[in-house]
């Protein structure tokens, strides 16, 4: 038996497959990964501390920068937490607009997932197809908020502006084209033999481990546990929509991909229902221009973001500034299992594992 010394290979922080400033120190025994040590904090900007010096409304743009791939989801979670803290009612039309925007964000984020998984595993064309379609969502964001990536569109009590005329044909045609897009992804990416070889049976996350480590979102569902905050603890008006929770069987990289593609379909269903049910009316209720959190009152509000359970913990102190803001970031918690699913595999599997855990570093590092 030949003995080899352990050696380390650094993946990142400057590496395209780490999707931002993530640094993974792979401890190798020949070709086998013995450990994958995660180093975080390269994009830490202390948003929780910043929040204490901002008013409740001023924090909205910071929230949108948490998960810059799905901009409306973190802002939605944040404004809903503020609404809970202050007992603010949200007008009906805005509720529907929020759902449409949140689900479009989820699709946009999952498209980055699918495309970047493809390119991380060497299939450059896959990325282009997903980004072609994602572009249409960003165009819609631009129509509604003037911003493509970091739209601070949510407001306490509603949204900043009504949907413009041109939004409706754009979203309708997007929904109509979606089945065709999904067929393309399945044909080009999911069905690709090389991609399957790189993903099937790789990075298996067993359901017990996923639960113990607090993994949420599509990563948990890929391991076979049908847990979705939109169903388990509905927020906003999600109770009014009929949709399914796709689950995987094996909890490997392949399942994490397939579950997300199915979720894109479900988000399309929700948007279709929301467009049908949406009433006319105001998009922003009568909310005081000065928002003050009651002293000592606290809330913890969670939503199902594209990455998992995104929570906001707010404490008021009787002024316009919060006493404390904490963000429970799904990307941060989900990354904890990266070493567990990478040990015993090959170096190239770490790339597939990072890509399919889908962390967004703006959120994990805060």
């Amino acid at each position: 038996m030949i003995k080899t010394d352990l050696y380390t290979i650094n993946i990142g922080p400057q590496h395209p497959s780490t999707h931002g400033g993530l640094h993974v120190e792979a401890v190798m025994d020949g070709e086998i990964v013995r450990d994958a040590i995660v180093h975080l904090g390269y994009v830490h900007r202390s948003v929780e501390k910043i929040a204490e010096a901002r008013t409740y409304t001023q924090f909205i743009p910071y929230a949108s920068r948490l998960d810059y791939l799905a901009t409306h989801l973190p802002t939605l979670g944040y404004v809903q937490a503020v609404e809970k803290l202050m007992g603010v009612e949200v007008v009906e039309r805005a509720q529907y607009i929020r759902v449409i925007m949140a689900e479009l964000s989820r699709i946009a984020s999952h498209l980055v997932f699918v495309g970047s998984l493809a390119i991380d595993l060497g299939a450059t064309t896959g990325l282009i197809y997903c980004f072609r379609d994602r572009e249409r969502i960003l165009d819609m964001f631009e129509m509604t908020s003037g911003q493509r990536l970091l739209a601070s569109y949510m407001r306490v009590g509603g949204v900043s502006a009504d949907l413009p005329e041109e939004f409706f044909p754009a979203v309708q045609s997007f929904i109509k084209d979606m089945p065709g897009m999904i067929d393309e992804y399945n044909g080009l990416i999911t069905g690709n033999e090389i991609l399957q070889a790189r993903c099937k049976g790789i990075g298996v996350l067993n359901p017990d481990v996923a639960l113990a480590y607090g993994v949420t979102g599509p990563n948990l569902r890929a391991s076979g546990i049908a847990y979705d905050v939109r169903k388990a603890d509905p927020y906003g008006i999600y109770e009014r929509f009929d949709f399914e929770i796709p689950v995987g069987e094996h909890g490997d990289c392949m399942d994490r991909l397939v579950v997300r593609i199915k979720e894109i379909e479900q988000s399309g269903n929700i948007i279709r229902q929301a467009l049908e049910q949406m009433p006319e009316g105001e998009v922003r209720g009568k909310v005081s221009k000065v928002l003050k959190g009651e002293k000592g009152k606290e809330v913890y509000h969670r939503i199902e973001s594209s990455k998992g359970e995104l929570g906001f913990y707010l404490i008021g102190n009787g002024t316009e500034n919060p006493y404390r803001v904490h963000v429970r970031a799904p990307s941060f918690v989900n990354l904890m299992v990266l070493p567990l699913i990478s040990r015993g595999g090959k170096l190239q599997d770490i790339i597939a594992n990072i890509a399919t855990l889908d962390p967004v570093l703006g959120e994990s590092d805060r």
Partner: protein, 150 residues
């Protein structure tokens, strides 16, 4: 969504099991349980084993000057109507608590984050080092007395 009777049932369930040992309160969103640093671990163990609370969603700390308050938000997967917030106060001059990683492994990085940003030590934690800030960073920025200027 759990309606009012479900919430009441969940609350009564918690009360029946924990009332004689812990202080329990209720608001429209959460059931609050107050523990001290000695009883924290046995409380968590009871929650997990007797109430099926298998999911520690969030944990964080708040700086109240003379003391810190740790707060843990817990649920069950699949959902059983329980929404629990466990709170523990610890003095600032002896900011140390037992780690709950042995019961909820998900606390690992989250406790490291609290140590990193708030300066609370968790005894029994397998790897009590900073997680977000560089190793040579001085101070804990989320403390209210952290000096922000130069």
């Amino acid at each position: 969504m759990a309606n009012n009777t479900d919430r009441d049932k969940a609350f009564n369930n918690v009360r029946a099991i924990l009332e004689d040992k812990y202080e329990i309160a209720n608001d429209p969103f959460f059931t609050y349980i107050t523990a001290n640093s000695d009883s924290l671990l046995s409380l968590m163990q009871t929650l997990k084993e007797q109430l099926g609370i298998n999911y520690l969603s969030n944990l964080t700390a708040v700086d109240y000057g003379e003391e810190f308050e740790m707060v843990y938000h817990l649920y069950a997967i699949p959902d059983n109507g329980q929404k629990l917030a466990v709170k523990t106060k610890i003095p600032r001059n002896r900011a140390e608590l037992p780690s709950v990683t042995s019961i909820y492994p998900t606390a690992d990085w989250q406790e490291r984050e609290v140590y990193d940003l708030m300066g609370i030590l968790f005894s029994g934690h397998p790897n009590m080092i900073r997680v977000l800030l560089p190793d040579d960073f001085v101070g804990h920025p989320l403390r209210k007395d952290f000096k922000k200027e130069g």
